[in-house]
Symmetry: C3
Subunit: 358 residues, 3 copies
């Protein structure tokens, strides 16, 4: 594929054409700890949704709109495991069925129900399936066992970003940006030079593998625990699972033994949930297999999440989002670099998924 | 009429189609006391209007736009009973005619005038007619004589709401919402069960009559003055006069003598004035024929206006307004209840009025 | 030309039709002193632009969008005279050429460049040409030599206005508004009566000349330095150079010797730069040839800029901008006065220029 083709393709995706939202997919609706028996409203893929737990602790996701007069259910109240609309009192059970009409003749219209969403609790995440319930396939959820493995310690966080979710997918698929955007926040030295890179595609997944031989890992990656006085192979890999679950792996080992699992390991989990076409919820976890009890390292990763993931990535992504659709008018001819291969492939895969949904 | 028809009709009205604004109608432009000789700008039915009084005290309503360069007249100044544009000094009398051009050759262009609106002061309300002046019929103004009758005491209020005015018309036409939305603010007991209901339609008016036999009226209605130790018939009726004047009547009498006028009576006046398609001015008065000099009752009604009419009704109506036009995309199939009859009829009547205006 | 024709024409321009933005023109991008070696982002004619100076002091204007991922260059950093994108590190020189790609294979895509704008520094103003560079003609820049002439003292200022720039062009082309809008801020007496007026058109320029014989100039014009006890000819002229450079000249001389250059002189410079269709940057300077060292006069002109140019002109122009496109719906029939001739002509000239650009 020639460069011009690639340029045009990228331009087409960015230029005014809205990036597609994929419905038939699992998204992180919330961290498990965010949702209690209290109603918790959150907009996901343009749908107002109310999350809550039953008295038995099961998490539930219902459309947050009463079908009578469109009042938000989350402005009403819980009655046992049911939701009572705060406007006229229609009551719905946790399957979304209307079970009480306290008005007039008390008859319950057959169509009266709240759409219910498949919701799965796994790894401390509430996963919501926003498409056809018949197609909700649990095996498609990313493997986050390290979130619950005592051999690992995870620092979780999250924030809201005013951009299309694909801008952050592309951001994560090219970690080369860290050398500039996160140079200070990430403590990255100038002498970090990529040795090998490869891309593996398999079904709805893509792996972007980067290896730095004989390298010094960025200061924030392993901090004071980074092995000293030895030559290291340092890998910074990214796994993408469609449409917007990503997991980075930073590891080190003695030179010549790249990815042998022997050294320190850092796993970054990035769960991107579109809120609307131009806003998103960003959930992330930073997991390490070393220094589990060192609060100083906890704080270092919290700081990195705050400075790099929140401040820096949001700032640039929100600025870019504001320019989507203006490039043609501005006469900007976009270019792609060799490092954009993963991003381009992922865009094409999502285009095909969106096409299949239409 | 079958339920499916009713559902579709309601959905059609709510779904993306803008609720009509009726031009040939009287609206409350302001309370009398709001308007002095100072210019008072207010947007009504999408029109910027300036209200003021002449030195003789007559209230005037003119379009708040100078036809020369479109400057708001209300940014200029009063010169006697005239308005002088603050930009280039064109002067208009209180009929809207241009009477002075201080620029250049001083000639007054024949077309130079401000649109003048029929404005009637009655019952302490400034009523504006926003349509064809030839059709302004004073007999269509709702009867609010109790506002000025010494046998009654009225607490007035008002606020701005970010919703289409029809959402509050429907709100008022189904007082059943009070049992849920205003349960606390209205002090409504659970044992209030509707005995009889009827709807009377007559010209541009509709009456929704609700009777509770052997009942205890809500605590806020008559407060400590509610008759004790006797069995009561309690009525909660609503009169709607097209397009958006409403008057509630809450009364009580000995059981079996419903609406005989013998007991305590509470009249709620609700004047809804569209500002734009999705914002409105809400004017209300709560009038009672008892305990005229008890400041504690004054304060109780002020609290009810603040908590119920302002906080609760606005919150739910503004949330609903934000969802108008999204229900189809969200796959919401709306339902109607037996208590929605008045609302459906009023929507149909307004549709016909709007059709006639087109 | 009949009045109806004139009315229709003005209405057509104001009514819903967006006033044209002229691309092939010089605009004030910034005062010279605003731009240092630090990057200075400013949106001009809907284009995000970054201004900065090289180490040698030459001012540069580049499109503030990296062609790789659309990140704003101004969020990156300076590397010598080059700009380095803060996202992935692409580096561009001050001609806009990409000179370094630190990612992947390091190859620089041929198309990778930032659009560069002709930028000229003259009279303490950075002039940007926003259209076809081949047509950038320096001779079209307004003569502001008095900004640098020691015989004159200039007070400069500027602010941002939320209106289409043409509203301020029309404002300045009819100084008659000062008698009303700036009556207090400008200290204008009621007895100021126009004696002679004429309009001269020449190429892309228009002169609107106004003479007051035997007059007392407005208090703010010459302040306590105004000649006393003599009869004066006072002129208040405006020169417009397409599309939005304007210069006023207020002068006085002994009666019968109008514009002989003998008396006090005040030059007002007004540089209007569209930011978007409905916002603009307003740069102004007030220059006098008298009382050069009197700080009280400095302060008087600063006050006039703040009260008249900023507060009064902005307030009315922003209100008018909000009504553009609504007049037809509101049934406003616009009128023109004899003093609107310059404004009408300038609108027609700009229409022709815009037509030629399409």
């Amino acid at each position: 594929m020639g460069d011009i083709g690639a340029n045009l393709e990228t331009a087409r995706l960015l230029e005014g054409y809205e990036r597609p939202l994929i419905r038939n997919a699992w998204y992180c609706a919330a961290w498990s700890h965010e949702v209690t028996q209290e109603m918790f409203p959150r907009r996901i893929l343009n749908m107002p949704i109310v999350l809550y737990r039953t008295e038995a602790g099961k998490a539930v996701a219902l459309l947050d709109i009463c079908p009578h007069k469109l009042a938000p259910m989350s402005q009403g109240k819980k009655v046992g495991d049911n939701l009572q609309c705060g406007y006229h009192g229609l009551e719905f059970d946790c399957s979304g069925a209307c079970v009480r009409n306290p008005q007039g003749d008390g008859r319950i219209p057959q169509e009266a129900k709240l759409r219910s969403f498949p919701l799965l609790e796994r790894y401390g995440v509430l996963w919501i399936w926003t498409g056809d319930p018949a197609r909700a396939d649990e095996s498609k959820i990313i493997d986050l066992r390290h979130f619950e493995d005592p051999a690992w310690r995870t620092i979780k966080g999250g924030h809201h970003v005013d951009c299309n979710y694909m801008l952050l997918v592309e951001n994560l698929l090219d970690l080369g940006h860290a050398l500039f955007l996160h140079k200070t926040s990430g403590g990255i030295s100038d002498d970090l030079v990529l040795s090998e890179t490869s891309i593996e595609q398999e079904g709805d997944m893509l792996r972007d593998l980067r290896l730095y031989r004989d390298a010094r890992p960025p200061a924030t990656i392993f901090g004071k625990y980074a092995p000293k006085g030895v030559r290291l192979d340092y890998n910074a890999d990214m796994l993408w699972v469609a449409p917007s679950m990503l997991m980075s792996h930073n590891g080190c080992s003695e030179t010549g033994r790249a990815r042998d699992g022997s050294g320190l390991s850092l796993r970054g989990t990035h769960l991107l949930t579109p809120e609307t076409q131009h806003t998103m919820h960003y959930f992330y976890g930073t997991s390490r297999n070393y220094a589990l009890d060192d609060p100083e390292i906890d704080e270092a990763y919290r700081r990195f999440q705050r400075d790099a993931l929140k401040a820096e990535d949001s700032r640039v992504s929100e600025a870019i989002d504001g320019l989507l659709g203006q490039t043609m008018a501005l006469g900007v001819r976009m270019v792609t670099l060799s490092t954009d291969v993963s991003g381009r492939r992922v865009n094409r895969m999502l285009d095909r998924m969106a096409e299949a949904e239409r």
